[in-house]
Symmetry: C4
Subunit: 211 residues, 4 copies
């Protein structure tokens, strides 16, 4: 991944757009593949309404996991979107961290299926939260590159970039809490992800004096 790229050979953003596009496609596929892990339940005759509702009841956990993972991947996508919205210049150094992040995102359907099939057990819950910590770390790496020179646009304010990076850190803190909770109270691990906005507010308050 050398910097052999002649920057003058193309208009701004062309190579960048293709990277963004490819990332969007991987995010979209990973997010949509989550559903194929939820299988149609077997219902046996007589096909009463009660029989169907009984067959659907155990799926509620799988649907909960589907939505949590959908919105978590969606939030990472939104963070990627936010960071690359500041990017204006291509750098081949973006390729490897971005692929690392995408590979972690692409693996989410497995960890979602594993943690929802054995819902509330320590190892699957902790693995799920741990994997999200990995995505959050890769996310911070990618966002730092996208909001720093030479990638960031000249007219993007430093304050705006700092907010984006803070949100990345807040996500890492939230997923770390979810991991810690999974070790103690596996059932409550997914709920702990809801602390992410709290971390974000805390970090904003802490950093304000500087600004």
């Amino acid at each position: 991944m050398q910097t052999t790229h002649p920057p003058e050979s193309h208009g701004p953003g062309h190579a960048l757009e293709r990277l963004i596009f490819f990332s969007d496609a991987v995010f979209a596929i990973a997010i949509t593949l989550l559903i194929i892990e939820i299988h149609v339940p077997e219902v046996h005759p007589p096909f009463t309404d009660a029989a169907f509702l009984r067959a659907l009841a155990p799926l509620s956990v799988e649907f909960l996991s589907f939505f949590v993972s959908f919105f978590v991947i969606g939030a990472f996508w939104a963070g990627h979107h936010r960071a690359f919205d500041c990017a204006r210049h291509w750098s081949p150094k973006l390729v490897l961290p971005n692929l690392c992040m995408l590979s972690a995102v692409a693996a989410m359907p497995f960890f979602t299926a594993f943690s929802s099939e054995y819902y509330g057990h320590r190892v699957p819950s902790a693995l799920y939260a741990f994997w999200m910590m990995l995505i959050a770390l890769a996310n911070i790496w990618v966002q730092r590159l996208a909001t720093s020179p030479p990638v960031v646009g000249e007219q993007v304010s430093e304050a705006h970039c700092r907010v984006i990076r803070q949100r990345g850190v807040a996500t890492l803190l939230g997923t770390t809490c979810a991991f810690a909770m999974a070790l103690v109270l596996p059932f409550a691990s997914q709920m702990t992800l809801a602390t992410i906005p709290l971390w974000r507010m805390l970090l904003q308050r802490v950093s304000r004096p500087r600004g």
Copy 2:
């Protein structure tokens, strides 16, 4: 999802385009994943033409459901397309409603498979129609944002936006009818979706005196 976005840092539509692009990809994947729920039937020797046709016969219901869901998702995509065609300005408030709508669309392969495997039964048919009501509601939410300030383009006429929103309401009314029908006559539920154009015409006639 704060409005920390500096609107001056990018040309019109860039952030918007990425949201549209991501939505298109999720729509496209959900619509194409529908087919993987239809499995190749088992045929046993002797492999006569009659044996193959007998094995294919029960798939007719699954193909019917495939096409209904394909065109329903296609219609929601067309509605999304129509609404965002009026959008010109990015707003971070679009992200959450759009993700809600996409999560409901992404879950369609499950509900399609469930209702087609137990075709004509009340719970699967009602659940299928209920899920489409949820998509229709999210669709109205997203379309309202896309056709209102600050997102809508200044040169887009109010009349044009009203037509788009009316179509969203017509879709909700049609899916509500399909849900009601599923409770009474499950077999006729999918056909009831065909009332959507009727609701559209009715709403247009009702709203015309105002205009």
Copy 3:
């Protein structure tokens, strides 16, 4: 699908681009999903080279079908590409035919898997060829719209549009031959698709005197 679209509210090609984009995504997903119908063969110990080769042998038919379907969908994609390359203006009339074509393309993984699992039998082979005839018909419909007013660009020559439409007809003739062959000699049906370039040359020779 009324023509309530204000053509002045957006630059040329924006709505069109989104339709093209969505189509590309569906083509790409359908073409890539073909592989998931090929399952890893079961090999039992002792794991000798011969045991693996014996287990792989029956997959040769599935790989043949994979490649035939891949290049057939790829050819339809290239035809779509060619036709929309001439398009410059949006028309809401494009939505329905395009969705019809995409739904037929999206169903290809099923027909590919069915015909390759029961390779050389009449019903699966005929169904496969018949389905491609449907795609070819939808393709002609879409291509005609894309290469005619009001969609076609003013600077695109009539001769160029005629060539594109001829290729669509040649594809239909080739798939019709494959269907006829499937009824008589199912094994030879896929090979008959190779007549498509011959039909193309024939049609070009026939139409030349006019030009």
Copy 4:
């Protein structure tokens, strides 16, 4: 695939962009489908932490293969990206080689699953490496077209194109080594892919005198 395309009928890069876009989508889907070959392991009660860890242990090989294939496909995507970054003019001659390459990429989930399920055996490892050699060959073919007239942009330096082509050759040499290693020491085959950067450096050193 005749050159009936009127080059004057569209701005530079439009047809090219659609080819690039379609390729990106196929790369993204193939790379993300890799995960669905990893199935949730069955765990039986009592659900102790040890039981989960024992069930996960055999998946380590599958995850290793997932990541190797992810980064290999990612590297081919990056190479495609690099080559088409130099392309400025459309040529219908790009379609067939590009489809050949994409069909080989799309088949990777099968070969990844096969070689990881029977990890360390000669036939699956050799087949995996052989398939990557095919992709590397198709890659060289596509890259040569994209970095040569009439496709390449006039302002792109010959030196830059040579570097891109050298990297394609280095990838072929690395995958050939992996294939040779698979025949002798199947376990070490995947690791041999790590020689690709060495080949790249070697080729650069050899070609420098010329420049």
